[in-house]
């Protein structure tokens, strides 16, 4: 692999925002294809941190600084990516009604972006209708629902039913502290993951 790609990867892993931006710029000047930079350096870096996070060898602070560096790199890269090249798919994410917690959803957003998806983050405490409208507007490949509380988790089923009423084949992933694989199955979610990094892997699997 080109040295510059390895350098970008290392800088993202280290959370070096300025360095990442600079190296992505240099890689583009050297003539490397933007898509190659994204896949071989940037997504590879997030995969590296994510895997260590899944093994409890890296913790949320490491994940957050890597995502911040990746974000900086993407700012340089995005204008150079051709239309249709801008990601592995579109994810629309939000936290269900009654739930004001954001960190879980935000980590999923970071990991999804790190896996090359475009993400529209709808925010927190969203009524079912807001998810339906966002689904119709953005036509995402996957809709992601988050909840931290077992009381609010129950709104996930309402959202799934409402979205499937307009698109029976809608792919909808669920996650959050109280959610389990069994619960996801019970409410007919298309996918579930126990942490943010595995959510990104699951999204890739669903769209493969």
């Amino acid at each position: 692999m080109e040295r510059i790609l390895l350098l970008i990867r290392d800088r993202i892993v280290a959370g070096d925002e300025e360095g990442t931006k600079k190296s992505v710029g240099e890689a583009l000047v050297s003539g490397l294809e933007p898509r190659k930079i994204m896949e071989h350096a940037m997504m590879a870096a997030m995969e590296d941190v994510g895997e260590r996070f899944s093994r409890n060898e890296a913790f949320i602070p490491e994940l957050i600084i890597a995502a911040a560096a990746m974000q900086e790199g993407m700012e340089v890269l995005k204008p150079r990516l051709a239309a249709g090249e801008r990601g592995n798919g579109l994810i629309v994410l939000g936290t269900v009604y009654g739930d004001i917690h954001s960190i879980g959803k935000n980590l999923v957003r970071m990991c999804m972006e790190g896996a090359g998806f475009e993400v529209v983050d709808l925010g927190e405490d969203l009524k079912t209708q807001a998810f339906v409208e966002a689904y119709e507007k953005h036509e995402p490949d996957i809709l992601g629902l988050s909840a931290l509380l077992s009381s609010t988790m129950q709104h996930m089923k309402e959202v799934i039913n409402a979205v499937r009423a307009i698109d029976p084949s809608a792919l909808i992933m669920v996650g959050g502290a109280p959610v389990t694989a069994d619960y996801a199955q019970e409410i007919s979610a298309s996918g579930y993951a126990p942490n943010a990094f595995e959510a990104a892997l699951k999204a890739k699997e669903l769209l493969a």
Partner: protein, 365 residues
């Protein structure tokens, strides 16, 4: 034995006459639904922040009725910080933090007065007012020394991230600016120490140090980061609590296993709530039962909201048999009695604790 004595015995890891029962928190809706079992004189169903003073007093008196009728061994008070209304969903507190209010749980900061190190100079530390501990005064006035007075206090991690308005931002600065993280923790800890002194002055017995440090999989920060950024402040707080004759335990949801040694080292007397989805209470009892009182573990994610009364009864029996022998266990839910919990199931939990909690208790395989 009084409820207070029962709680003290459990914290001393000795066997009281029976396993104490206590709860960290009840939401407004839960208080009103449970209150309906015992009285018709109930406040309207709305957030405390939206209640009139008369309605708030009625809510508090409903909570006292529930605690008395169910013969709980302790009551939990919270500091209700003065706030001003920003809009229907948000209030601003004395630090200048914008808090989002929620019917499903405690208010959470969505914006803070600090966004980076340069904002610290202009920040005026907020000093708690005794009137903000009105709930403790009312609980002490109502129950005296009959039951344990537990006071919830914010922890340095939570207070620090609330000053930034976002947990992610604080965790980002863990890597980018350690000195700034310490400055925030210093501000937070000084505030917490003031509340600790006030709690002691007003007759609290036990401090519950709030603020989650973990999620289902593991801790939010590495054990090394806990040691660097939180442990020294935890030590200061437990030391002050002990100087003021208060017992103190750490509350955190999630899998706290990676830093439980640190919780012991910090000087905490107990740990709550041993969330059953991610920690095994038998293992926690075996490893830490000689150093920490264990509180909680009765699942409020699935069991109390969706389970049957029979399932609740069985779970309480099994949990007591694992955690209570030798003392050092207090029955409570795995977080709080939130609006999703069936009130019948909570009552079944308390009754089961009485049925199976008489000492001596035999450990069951």
């Amino acid at each position: 034995m009084t409820g207070r004595e029962r709680m003290f015995e459990a914290f001393a890891r000795r066997e009281p006459d029976r396993v104490p029962v206590w709860e960290m928190a009840f939401n407004e809706e839960s208080i009103i639904k449970l209150g309906a079992f015992f009285t018709d004189d109930l406040p309207p169903m709305k957030f405390a922040q939206q209640m009139t003073t008369e309605e708030k007093i009625k809510l508090l008196s409903t909570l006292f009725t529930v605690v008395r009728q169910l013969e709980l061994d302790g009551i939990t008070s919270i500091a209700i910080l003065e706030t001003e209304t920003v809009d229907d969903d948000h209030v601003r507190d004395g630090w200048g933090r914008i808090m989002r209010v929620s019917e499903e749980g405690e208010a959470t900061a969505v914006a803070g007065p600090v966004s980076g190190p340069s904002d610290l100079k202009g920040l005026k530390p907020y000093h708690p007012q005794q009137s903000e501990l009105l709930m403790l005064m009312a609980a002490k006035g109502n129950f005296g020394d009959e039951i344990a007075q537990v006071m919830v206090q914010p922890g340095p991690f939570r207070e620090s991230w609330m000053l930034l308005g976002s947990m992610e931002k604080l965790l980002y600065f863990y890597m980018k600016d350690p000195a700034f993280v310490h400055d925030l923790a210093r501000l937070a800890t000084d505030f917490i120490l003031e509340i600790t002194d006030m709690s002691a002055d007003l007759g609290a017995d036990i401090v519950a140090l709030d603020g989650d440090l973990a999620f289902s999989q593991t801790t939010l920060m590495s054990p090394a980061q806990y040691e660097e950024f939180i442990l020294p402040y935890h030590k200061e707080i437990t030391q002050r609590a002990h100087e003021r004759d208060l017992l103190i335990f750490k509350h955190s949801d999630g899998n706290m296993a990676p830093i439980l040694d640190g919780i012991v080292e910090a000087g905490f007397d107990g740990f709550h709530p041993v969330q059953p989805q991610c920690m095994d209470i038998g293992e926690v009892k075996e490893r830490y039962g000689d150093r920490l009182c264990i509180l909680g573990n009765i699942d409020c994610t699935y069991l109390l909201p969706f389970g049957s009364e029979e399932e609740v009864d069985r779970t309480v029996r099994e949990t007591i048999s694992k955690a209570a022998p030798g003392g050092g266990y207090v029955v409570s839910s795995s977080n709080s009695i939130h609006p999703g919990c069936k009130p019948e199931n909570y009552i079944a939990m308390v009754k089961a604790a009485r049925r199976y909690g008489e000492y001596p208790i035999e450990a069951r395989a």
